[in-house]
């Protein structure tokens, strides 16, 4: 008998037991009518070929394993970064359940979001009645300081008008007229989750700056920092704040989920925990500048902020030495504050570490995928490590991203072999890895299937990371974050070296 009370076997070992192996074989042989093993093996080999790759890249309609989600996920993430904010999805309820599950699986933390549960009658008559009831119920039960509303594709296809619906709800006194209700239309069939993030941040700004009251900017000395859609936000935002505090910068971190998605277990569940305050969000109009850390997640937001007379600037997920340097220098330029020596020392430690490990990094070929800013920032870091980014894939990357990445590659001889792939998916990546192999693959948890299929050593870096715990509790941003990424890369390289040969099984490396 394979199971015992003394040593309980779960799925990881139970199904390796002979009894189960026999069961599988019997089921396959007697009942499954599968293709013969030889045919499966032949097709498997064929999928590794250049010929298959060409057919794969000829696809124009079928999308296979795209590492990209839809707009409202980004909007719900954005909504979670404000004090007392309840994310609200106007449309089908299943979407809200998916967003909550998705965020919880990554952050290992509670994620809240109400929906107004539109069904077939709402498809015919519109979702006004759902929105009016939904806002009232949400406000009564959960007592939010603001309700932050986005849409599902159902509401978008039938053309519900959030602005007028919300006004009607307030006229009907479903919710108090002064309860902040920022909103954004976030159709799933346009862009991806980073588009939804952009639309929601813009929606929040424009609500507080234009709709709630027509504010006139009175420029002060503060700067706004928008971190972007970031799976490492809990730790990264804390690191950003530490840097800014060390510099003595007066700032507002706009959309701060560092507490929302990383709250303590102390016996009380706090639905609202942390976030950018509403007061700071209103006052953000008076900043002298807004700096986005993710250019491609905040394009519309920055255009809008610029209309308020602010200086706007954007980076691409600053990572590594130069990325962090650029961040600090940009902040120094915008704020007029000096970069303190303490940060220079941190920088020096990172450079020290890279110099120590350089030989193991040099010339290693890397494939990477993820959101455009993250992939860009990582590519820049790889180049300064002397590694060679080869397949650089952003399924939601724009033409501008592609050009910018090409320009980046052209700055270094380590970029000679690199290609920026936009609009491609992980089935494309599979062909790339088989036909032009690399030493390392870096991306979100979905990359684990590529590691299994192609044997490429894989490092998890991106969103979502479902199958490793707590990565988001440590930064990827700044000099400290770069150290963490460096160590992960090195560990993987050393593991491969240790596993590859008995002869070179060195004690010291």
């Amino acid at each position: 008998m394979p199971q015992s009370a003394d040593t309980v076997k779960d799925h990881i070992s139970l199904f390796q037991e002979p009894e189960y192996k026999e069961l599988f074989a019997h089921k396959k042989e007697q009942y499954e009518c599968r293709h013969p093993d030889e045919e499966v093996a032949k097709q498997l080999e064929y999928t590794k070929s250049w010929e298959y790759r060409e057919k794969n890249f000829a696809r124009q309609h079928a999308v296979i394993n795209p590492p990209r989600a839809c707009q409202p996920l980004g909007a719900v993430f954005a909504a979670a970064g404000f004090e007392g904010s309840m994310p609200y999805v106007h449309g089908s309820q299943g979407c809200a359940a998916y967003f909550r599950s998705h965020l919880s699986r990554h952050f290992k933390d509670a994620s809240v979001c109400v929906s107004d549960s539109m069904t077939e009658d709402a498809a015919v008559f519109g979702g006004l009645a759902n929105l009016v009831d939904g806002l009232q119920n949400c406000n009564t039960l959960y007592k939010p300081k603001m309700i932050t509303i986005s849409t599902t594709c159902m509401a978008e296809v039938i053309g519900d008008d959030l602005s007028s619906f919300i006004n009607t709800a307030k006229e009907k006194e479903a919710i108090p007229a002064d309860l902040p209700t920022p909103f954004a239309h976030t159709p799933s069939f346009v862009g991806s989750h980073i588009t939804g993030y952009d639309n929601m941040i813009k929606g929040i700004f424009s609500y507080f700056w234009d709709r709630e009251a027509q504010l006139t900017p009175t420029p002060g000395g503060k700067i706004n920092i928008i971190p972007g859609f970031d799976g490492y936000a809990p730790a990264n935002n804390r690191e950003i704040k530490r840097y800014l505090d060390l510099m003595g910068v007066d700032y507002t971190l706009v959309c701060d989920v560092s507490d929302t998605f990383d709250s303590p277990t102390d016996g009380t569940y706090k639905m609202y925990y942390g976030g950018t305050t509403i007061e700071d969000t209103r006052a953000a109009i008076n900043a002298k500048a807004t700096l986005s850390l993710q250019e491609f997640s905040t394009e519309k937001t920055l255009d809008y902020v610029a209309t308020k007379g602010q200086t706007v600037a954007a980076l691409n997920s600053p990572m590594g030495v130069s990325g962090t340097d650029a961040f600090l220098m940009k902040v120094a330029e915008l704020s007029g504050k000096a970069i303190p020596e303490a940060l220079e020392i941190e920088r020096g430690r990172l450079v020290d570490a890279i110099a120590d490990s350089n030989a193991w990094l040099h010339g290693k070929r890397v494939a990477l995928f993820g959101d455009p800013d993250v992939v860009y920032g990582l590519t820049a870091f790889l180049l300064e490590l002397g590694m060679e980014p080869i397949h650089i894939l952003a399924s939601n990357g724009s033409a501008e991203w592609e050009q910018k990445t090409k320009d980046l590659l052209a700055t270094s001889r380590f970029g000679d072999g690199g290609t920026a792939w936009r609009g491609k998916d992980l089935w494309h990546m599979r062909s790339l890895l088989f036909t032009e192999p690399v030493d390392l693959l870096i991306g979100s948890s979905y990359g684990k299937y590529l590691e299994k299929d192609t044997g490429t050593p894989f490092i998890r870096l991106g969103f979502p990371v479902f199958d490793r715990h707590h990565h988001h509790r440590f930064p990827t941003f700044g000099y400290q974050g770069a150290l963490r990424v460096l160590v992960e890369i090195l560990d993987r390289i050393f593991e491969v070296a240790d596993a590859s040969s008995d002869i070179s099984y060195d004690l010291t490396r």
Binding site: A5, C70, R100
Partner: protein
């Protein structure tokens, strides 16, 4: 069932009142019908006292999903040798990608496609001009990419039903072109009120597009059965199958966890359908009964008490050989069950459990907890119907709190006030509950563990409940300088 304990029904009635009164009047009135306690009348009939399968109240944070989730995530998705197309925008397929843990044997991307996200990735132009042409060409491309697939299911997301696409016509055309099965499934997320309609629509798809269409050469034996509605979460269906095979039955179709299309097509040849998740597949069992006269039988493979009862119930449908075999199987595994109970009951005895799961487990797992000496003090379903609640009352003690389609608010209130020793629910409920210092197990995904079915699974179930309830971390919730 035999475990003797009482539940404070009066306290629970008070909780219901508190929950209802927290809502605006209209919403409170609606929610009141979904909250109740188990009561037994003078004739000995137990009822849960709740209405179910009704639209969720907007804005209360229902934990429910949608029809697409029920059709793709539950019923179709696990069929391993078909390509399941999430037809519409990219999100639905993304969020459901590899999340149900429907284990299978096969080569991914070659002859099995369970852990893939294949989507038509609707863009604005598809909304404006329709997605049918795109879908046709997509299937041609998938034929090139995955020539060994046995067919396709087309799982509609919200926009499809709103823009008037004719996926049935596309399916017929492409079935002809590819000479493979192509099944349209109208499981748009706005249809119905929960995952449940998605199950039903998916069942209808199997009925209308598969069963009886492609007759297989199959000589039916006297012991041919289908194992229906086990989705092989963490491998659940395999220890279940093992028990049936050890009894001498031939499991000619296993639906839909680790199933192939052939196993679906062959189903009408069986002598009986054995159904585990009644909620998601009773429809197709009724259809097979009406069409081919195949009887069906519900069973429960959670915990030794229910397993033995079910094995005997199943055996009673067959001859004395099978009945004798069933006794042998029970006798073979009872020592394992006894050893598991001997090991874990001392650690779990008297621990109080609250459950909130989908459409089956809030009742089906109750006795397994009781086998370990645990007490179920509250239970509820996301998407059960009246017939599920009818089947539930007999599992539970009088006074047990029942919550249908409970909202986040209600669950949080009930957990806070009842202070159970364990909550069994889903990923959305997990982390908030743990913040309260209350141990938790995900009971949809088995919290990445499993299997929980059968005797082999019961050992895992017992181990997991123990490791959750008795984790040292729960003694660290309060800082020692604050512990009063």
């Amino acid at each position: 069932m035999s475990l003797d304990y009482t539940v404070d029904g009066a306290f629970n009635e008070g909780l219901i009142k508190e929950a209802v009164e927290a809502h605006p009047e209209k919403a409170g009135k609606k929610r009141a019908r979904h909250l109740g306690t188990v009561k037994t009348d003078a004739e000995g009939t137990s009822t849960c006292g709740v209405k179910s399968n009704i639209k969720s109240v907007p804005g209360v944070m229902t934990q429910r999903g949608c029809a697409y989730a029920g059709a793709k995530g539950v019923v179709w998705g696990p069929i391993k040798d078909m390509v399941h197309i999430s037809h519409g925008p990219v999100g639905c397929g993304h969020y459901s990608w590899s999340q149900r843990r429907n284990y299978f044997n096969g080569t991914v991307g070659i002859d099995s496609f369970v852990t893939m996200q294949i989507t038509s990735d609707f863009q604005e132009r598809d909304i404006v001009f329709g997605g049918d042409k795109n879908l046709e060409k997509m299937i041609d491309e998938l034929e090139t990419m995955f020539p060994l697939t046995k067919g396709y299911s087309i799982l509609s997301e919200c926009p499809i039903g709103l823009i008037g696409d004719d996926i049935e016509a596309v399916s017929k055309k492409k079935a002809k072109d590819t000479e493979k099965l192509v099944v349209p499934c109208r499981c748009e997320g706005f249809r119905g009120i929960s995952q449940s309609l998605g199950h039903h629509i998916a069942n209808d798809g199997i009925r209308d597009w598969i069963l009886g269409k492609n007759e297989q050469e199959w000589e039916t034996g006297p012991y041919d059965v289908n194992l229906i509605a086990d989705y092989n979460i963490g491998g659940d269906a395999w220890p279940s199958r093992k028990l049936l095979e050890e009894m001498g039955l031939r499991v000619i179709g296993q639906w839909t966890g680790d199933s192939t299309l052939a196993e679906i097509e062959r189903a009408p040849k069986a002598k009986i359908n054995l159904i585990h998740c009644y909620r998601s597949m009773n429809y197709i069992c009724r259809h097979m009964e009406e069409t081919w006269g195949i009887p069906w039988l519900e069973y429960n493979f959670f915990g030794p008490t229910q397993i033995a009862k079910s094995l005997r119930k199943i055996a009673a449908k067959f001859d004395e050989t099978i009945q004798a075999n069933a006794e042998k199987v029970i006798a073979k595994y009872q020592p394992l069950a006894d050893a598991v109970i001997a090991k874990y009951q001392p650690r779990l005895d008297g621990k109080r459990v609250m459950l909130f799961v989908g459409g089956l487990r809030p009742r089906h797992t109750a006795t397994a907890y009781e086998d370990l000496g645990m007490q179920v003090i509250g239970s509820g379903y996301e998407f059960a119907h009246n017939d599920d609640y009818q089947r539930t009352a007999e599992y539970l003690k009088d006074g047990t709190l029942i919550y249908d389609d409970a909202s986040e608010y209600e669950l949080e209130l009930f957990i806070e006030k009842l202070k159970p020793d364990l909550v069994g629910s889903g990923i959305k409920e997990k982390y908030g509950t743990q913040k309260m210092g209350v141990p938790f197990r995900q009971m949809h995904s088995w919290d990445y563990s499993g299997p929980y079915h059968g005797y082999d699974g019961f050992a895992v179930f017992a181990r997991d409940m123990d490791l959750a309830v008795n984790a040292p971390v729960w003694s660290k919730i309060k800082a020692p300088w604050k512990a009063a």
